[in-house]
């Protein structure tokens, strides 16, 4: 067993530098790598390019990095819910590249899988396809999209082991598995590192081969963005 465990978030983020391209897992505030984001704030890195479906809210998630002007460019599918984001975007301080959510997921998965490019129907005939190759297969039109290239992937899982094997919980899974192995170095933070052999080999969502570093995170807030309930 190849041991991927590091003992704290500081070691986990060793080598992350200003100007790097980072993949950050999560959908909204669900399944985001809270510990890694907090450490990126502490490290005061700047000019980051972040590939993440969303950009957090003003005081949580990637919003924490935005507040400190650490992000140069966001590559996302949906970036509402964040006033500071809006201000920086409209003022031109922040570059934003919006791409369809399924294309975002597939560009991650392609990077993970050694597929340099693929065709998707999403965005054909829209400004998303401007400047991109398009092509007919059968009687439908498609757009050529390329795999992402990133320096680090930060993902959050529910449980993991020292071998880097991961399982995710509920919809906190989202982009996290697709970002594993999609950057040069993948750092996984988990709520719990379990003893080796405790995870059923049949039920591992992401095998450790895609992970370079794993650590047990702490103080997870797991904030709920839209608390919706029904009446008893």
């Amino acid at each position: 067993m190849i041991n991927k465990k590091v003992f704290n978030v500081k070691d986990a983020l060793e080598g992350v530098k200003s100007g790097m391209t980072l993949m950050v897992g999560g959908f909204g505030l669900s399944g985001i790598p809270e510990n890694a984001i907090e450490q990126l704030v502490k490290l005061e890195l700047t000019d980051l390019i972040c590939i993440s479906n969303n950009a957090g809210v003003d005081d949580f998630g990637l919003g924490l990095l935005l507040k400190k002007h650490q992000i140069k460019k966001m590559i996302s599918s949906y970036v509402g819910e964040n006033d500071e984001f809006e201000r920086q975007m409209l003022s031109g301080e922040l570059e934003v590249d919006l791409i369809p959510q399924g294309t975002l997921a597939e560009k991650c998965r392609s990077a993970q899988s050694g597929i340099p490019a693929f065709y998707t129907p999403a965005g054909f005939g829209t400004e998303v396809a401007e400047g991109k190759e398009t092509r007919a297969f059968g009687n439908k039109m498609y757009v050529l999209e390329h795999a992402f290239k990133a320096d680090f992937s930060f993902v959050k899982a529910w449980k993991g082991d020292e071998a880097g094997n991961l399982i995710f919980k509920g919809t906190a899974r989202n982009f996290n598995p697709n970002m594993c192995g999609a950057a040069k170095i993948t750092v996984a933070e988990v709520e719990e590192i379990v003893p080796l052999g405790e995870l059923d080999p049949n039920q591992i969502h992401i095998p450790g081969i895609f992970i370079q570093r794993i650590f047990q995170g702490s103080n997870y807030e797991k904030r709920i963005e839209q608390r919706t309930i029904r009446k008893n």
């Binding site: 959908f27 997921a105 965005g123 919809t171 899974r173």
Partner: protein, 218 residues
């Protein structure tokens, strides 16, 4: 004239037994409340869940179980969770039978614009472009006119497109309309709405073929 609930109720009648359905944010979300309970339907949310149930009771919310609108949800027996790539495999691979979403504009050839108003803050398309580019059966839920009273059913969309030639049906506060090769085809009138009112609220080519029945909504 229908209110949002009325639109949701009318669209619910389009949901058939055995359908996998993806609901957009806004009016489409309401549709789930009005689907007949003698048919089997499963709701997919593109953030990675199939088999969504109702909102949780207070105290049972789980930050790790949400829908694409970031709302806390529950799941029903037979539900499954999956990653974003597999979620869009379902969508792009045309395994979802019906997509219901809102729009700012729809054109008579089935183009849709619902993600961007130039000059205003752009929040992004989320999964909408994947959904409209892939789904074979898309229903738009929207008001017939915008807040300024201008028709949202146009000859050509004026806003940046979300997808081209992809919409099958539109349900508004005034009418049910099908997109045909010849343009918007009026199928039903909302209760109390005349054909003339629909004509005057529609900018694109509207085909009126024979008597147009009034919608039946329970």
């Amino acid at each position: 004239m229908l209110d949002k609930i009325g639109i949701a109720k009318r669209i619910a009648k389009e949901v058939k037994d055995g359908y996998y359905v993806n609901l957009g944010i806004g009016i489409p979300t309401l549709v789930a409340n009005f689907v007949r309970d003698d048919i089997e339907v499963e709701f997919q949310s593109e953030n990675g869940v199939l088999g969504m149930g109702p909102f949780p009771f207070e105290g049972e919310e789980d930050a790790d179980i949400i829908n694409a609108g970031k709302q806390t949800i529950t799941t029903l027996p037979g539900a499954s969770f999956f990653d974003s790539a597999l979620s869009f495999s379902m969508i792009r691979g045309q395994h979802v039978d019906l997509t219901i979403l809102g729009a700012m504009e729809v054109s008579e050839n089935g183009d849709i614009a619902n993600w961007k108003i130039p000059g205003f803050m752009v929040k992004g398309m989320g999964g909408a472009m994947d959904l409209v580019a892939s789904a074979e059966n898309i229903i738009v839920a929207m008001m017939h006119t915008n807040k300024k009273g201008k028709s949202k059913l146009l000859k050509r969309c004026s806003l940046p497109l979300t997808g081209v030639g992809c919409i099958n049906k539109i349900v508004t506060n005034l009418a049910v309309i099908e997109i045909t090769d010849g343009g918007f085809k009026l199928l039903e009138r909302a209760p109390g709405i005349s054909v003339e009112e629909i004509v005057s609220s529609t900018d694109g080519r509207l085909i009126i073929d024979g008597d147009i029945p009034e919608m039946i909504i329970d």
